[in-house]
Amino acid sequence: MKVRVEESVCQGHTLCALAAPEVFALRDEDGHAYVIVDQLSPNLEVQARKAAAGCPERAILIDE
């Protein structure tokens, strides 16, 4: 499974970093999210899915 943030859609709601702090970080300049891990362990996959479900803008894309 791969996870990414669609940069043009993210508006910096920051909820992904709340749900999955080990998968997403927030940019210093505007709080928009980016992915900080290459390989997702099963535990991080759960976190990432939780974040995707909670993104108000639907900016988190998961490729199975």
Binding site: Q11, H13, T14, D28, G54, P56
Partner: protein, 436 residues
């Protein structure tokens, strides 16, 4: 109903007005009735406008800033573009919240670095200390008005600090900033309130001029200094932005805190959970923001005949994106009228959606958590005096309170009061200790 296309000639007409006492008494129920009729319905009130109560429809509309405009015509070049207020109004211009991209993006680029999750952390010590001082001023008496004594003060002082204005001036802006959102447009007092809002803008214009001469660090200085390929931001935009940041900074976190304390009044077990369950304050903050939706929604103008989210709109139609009513849409939030402190997912629209996402959201969250935690720790047995609670007369702009009096078992002071704390922080700011 939600999937059917509504042509203008068979639009679903509803009797909706977000400024009425009926709306104030039970806005979620008002929303359910309208959403069931149609998630994008037409109200003939306030000059006629679409009211959006469906979360999916709102999300789609908010993303289409090319078709759904925030612009306010301040110079007669775009008649019919009435900005974010419904009904349209005179008074202070709401800065970049009444602009569209690309103009809007210049302002956000300047201000985002002050308001990102990383940047706002530098203000935690000021928030903690000023809020501590607010509590100390009342802790020995056993009586507090959560709005007048705490929630009005801490966010306002913080806003002054971040703008680069004298901290003591929070008092000058406090009454006009709150009155301009809680006075319904039909009130006999509305004209006076608009005058107050204009006077505030005039004072801010003087402050901006002073900062050009004596450049104190802060968001005003950053706006004044900003340059985009040799082009400066216009004064009108800077002054409107200051008014916006004061309105947004003063009134929203205040309202959220007052509403949350009111809800927690009869729930001692929830107070304990918030203090002791790890991470609960984070999801609870999102849930309080969703449930109460301090900034209830925003007006927009349709830029051309178009179809969005399955609905047809005509050029210059006015639209009210109701964040509050969409936040109670049962299709997205199971049991929408219950507060579930650990609710997840919680894709609420309380900070807006799309390019206008509340620029102060990170500051709001942090400030709210600090203020709430301190109150729950130091006034653990508070009880609100119900007959003294005064809700805003209109909650159509901000879902807030003017007064929330309470009693509690008196406690011990921890330090100086607000007056002394502000002198102390002003001193630290003036010698350059605070801005990093």
């Amino acid at each position: 109903m939600a999937d059917s296309k509504q042509m203008p000639d068979n639009r679903v007409v509803v009797d909706f007005n977000q400024h009425t006492p009926e709306y104030r008494a039970e806005f979620p129920q008002v929303g359910h009735a309208i959403r069931e009729a149609c998630p994008v319905a037409w109200s003939p009130n306030n000059g006629g406008y679409w009211v959006v109560t469906g979360h999916d429809q709102l999300t789609e509309l908010a993303k289409r800033h090319d078709l759904v405009s925030n612009h306010r015509d301040s110079d007669g070049t775009k008649p019919g573009y009435d900005g974010i207020s419904i009904p349209s109004r005179e008074g202070a211009y709401a800065g970049f919240l009444e602009m569209d991209p690309p103009e809007l993006l210049d302002y956000r680029k300047v201000l985002n670095p002050f308001l990102s999750p990383a940047a706002v952390k530098m203000w935690a010590p000021l928030i903690e200390d000023v809020n501590r001082a607010c509590i100390d001023d009342v802790i020995e008496s056993g009586r507090v008005d959560f709005v007048d004594d705490i929630a009005n003060i801490t966010p306002a002082v913080l806003t002054m600090a971040m703008l680069g204005l004298p901290l003591a001036d929070w008092v000058v802006y406090c009454e006009p900033a709150h009155a301009q959102v809680y006075t319904p447009p039909t009130s006999p007092d509305f004209e006076r309130v608009i005058q107050g809002s204009m006077a505030m803008a005039a004072r801010l214009a003087e402050c901006v001029a002073e900062i050009r001469v004596d450049p104190k660090p802060g968001m005003i200085k950053a706006l004044v200094d900003a340059e985009f390929s040799g082009r400066r931001l216009p004064d009108e935009g800077i002054i409107g932005t200051c008014a916006l940041l004061i309105g947004g900074g003063f009134d929203t976190t205040t309202s959220l805190l007052a509403a949350s304390l009111d809800w927690l009044d009869t729930r001692p077990a929830e107070r304990q959970r918030l203090l002791h369950e790890e991470g609960l304050i984070d999801t609870a903050t999102e849930e309080f923001v969703r449930y109460f939706t301090p900034a209830q929604g925003g007006g927009r103008t349709i830029t051309q005949d178009c179809e969005v989210a399955g609905f047809e709109f005509k050029q210059l139609d006015r639209v009210f994106l109701s964040y509050a009513l969409c936040n109670h849409d049962p299709a997205v939030f199971p049991d929408p009228d219950e507060i579930l402190l650990d609710r997840w997912p919680n894709r609420h629209a309380a900070f807006g959606m799309g390019v206008h996402r509340c620029i102060g959201s990170n500051l709001a969250r942090m400030g709210f958590k600090i203020m709430l935690t301190q109150i729950l720790e130091r006034m653990p047995d508070y009880r609100i005096q119900g007959d003294g609670v005064v809700q805003y007369e209109s909650i159509g702009v901000i879902n807030g309170y003017q007064h929330v009096p309470a009693t509690f078992t008196p406690g011990r002071r921890l330090g100086a009061g607000v007056e002394e704390a502000l002198v102390d922080w002003q001193g630290r700011i003036d010698v350059g200790e605070v801005w990093s």
